[in-house]
Symmetry: C2
Subunit: 211 residues, 2 copies
């Protein structure tokens, strides 16, 4: 049923949030929830929630609400949380370190196989039990290991070249932390993380309440 | 003119992206751009761009397009990039380190005054020339310095207590890196950064192209 229709990216981008909230509700042993209650918790309008969840089957029942567990299972299935992805981190700086130490990633299906850097002082060491290897060994490593995702925390000036190199090795997923929006025309899938954007929105909202 | 009407948060959230692209165009000495060209670069539909930019005056002229510099200036003004915000980082771990080393923040008006942690091995040291101070000294520091934003990179289990403590000190802006969506009912402004959400969307899109 789900496979039959395309779910818009706008809805997909909200699914991890539903996933987190439903997961919290399950931990609190909540069995069912109305769109109104979910709306109050998530600060999303109830009608938006109903519309979103309708996209993939809509388990809500009049007067009952949503069954938390089935909704959680369904969203997990759509997001593919049962799928495992092999990842590498390029750049063993602060952000690379932070990512290597994120415990949630493994729980969500993302295994980090290795970290690559050009700094001889970092190469040969480990971060959270993951080997830091020299960038020169990347091609060899990629030929011996299937890699789904490269997490790029390298300096911005090299980002396009590195992204091209990575995708030429058959790596299809790019998680980009550089300020440049990577746009690759080779079928690779890119998610850009722009921390500054989020901070600028916070600044705007603060300025707004100051009046 | 801009002050007269409310711009929706959906538009506001896209402004930093326009800001980045326009800033790049200015660096390339591009004087004007059509919504079509901007659309191709940004992968946003031209009609969405026209609609967004119309929200705050709409500088587009038929057959001319947008004047890059005036659009940049206007978006800067709305986002308040001329405003300076005083920030502190709570948590001197990997993410705290990464944030303290982000050079872009200062350029965008965000000054980091100090970093706080409870780890005696970190207290007294500096990260990127910023002092790491003990959490016990936070109240005193806040009484002597006007702080706009607290960047929270502390362990998730303490997050709500810490957010409450921070806002009780008069700090109105919270940039939250814990997996919990902070919702505070005390007038504070919270932006939650969920790296896992972005990674899950990447996973979904990869699964999608694999078929």
């Amino acid at each position: 049923m789900v496979e039959d229709k395309r779910i818009s990216m706008a809805v997909i981008r909200r699914l991890p949030r539903y996933f987190r909230y439903l997961s919290d509700l399950m931990k609190m042993d909540v069995k069912r929830i109305s769109s109104k209650e979910l709306s109050e918790r998530m600060h999303i309008t109830a009608s938006q929630i109903r519309q979103d969840l309708n996209c993939f089957g809509g388990f809500g029942q009049q007067g009952y609400g949503y069954n938390v567990e089935s909704l959680y299972e369904e969203i997990s299935k759509i997001l593919g949380t049962d799928t495992r992805f092999s990842c590498i981190i390029l750049g063993a700086g602060n952000m690379g370190n932070a990512l290597a130490n994120y415990e949630n990633f493994k729980k969500r299906g993302f295994d980090i196989l290795a970290i690559f850097d050009i700094d001889e002082n970092k190469v040969g060491k480990q971060i959270n039990n993951i080997d830091v290897m020299h960038m020169d060994t990347l091609d060899d490593f990629a030929s011996k290991n299937k890699i789904d995702i490269a997490m790029l925390t390298v300096p911005n000036k090299n980002i396009t070249d590195i992204a091209k190199r990575v995708t030429s090795l058959g790596i299809k997923g790019i998680w980009n932390f550089s300020p440049t929006d990577l746009m690759l025309d080779n079928g690779a899938v890119v998610e850009n993380v722009h921390l500054s954007d989020s901070l600028m929105v916070l600044g705007y909202r603060l300025k707004d309440i100051r009046g």
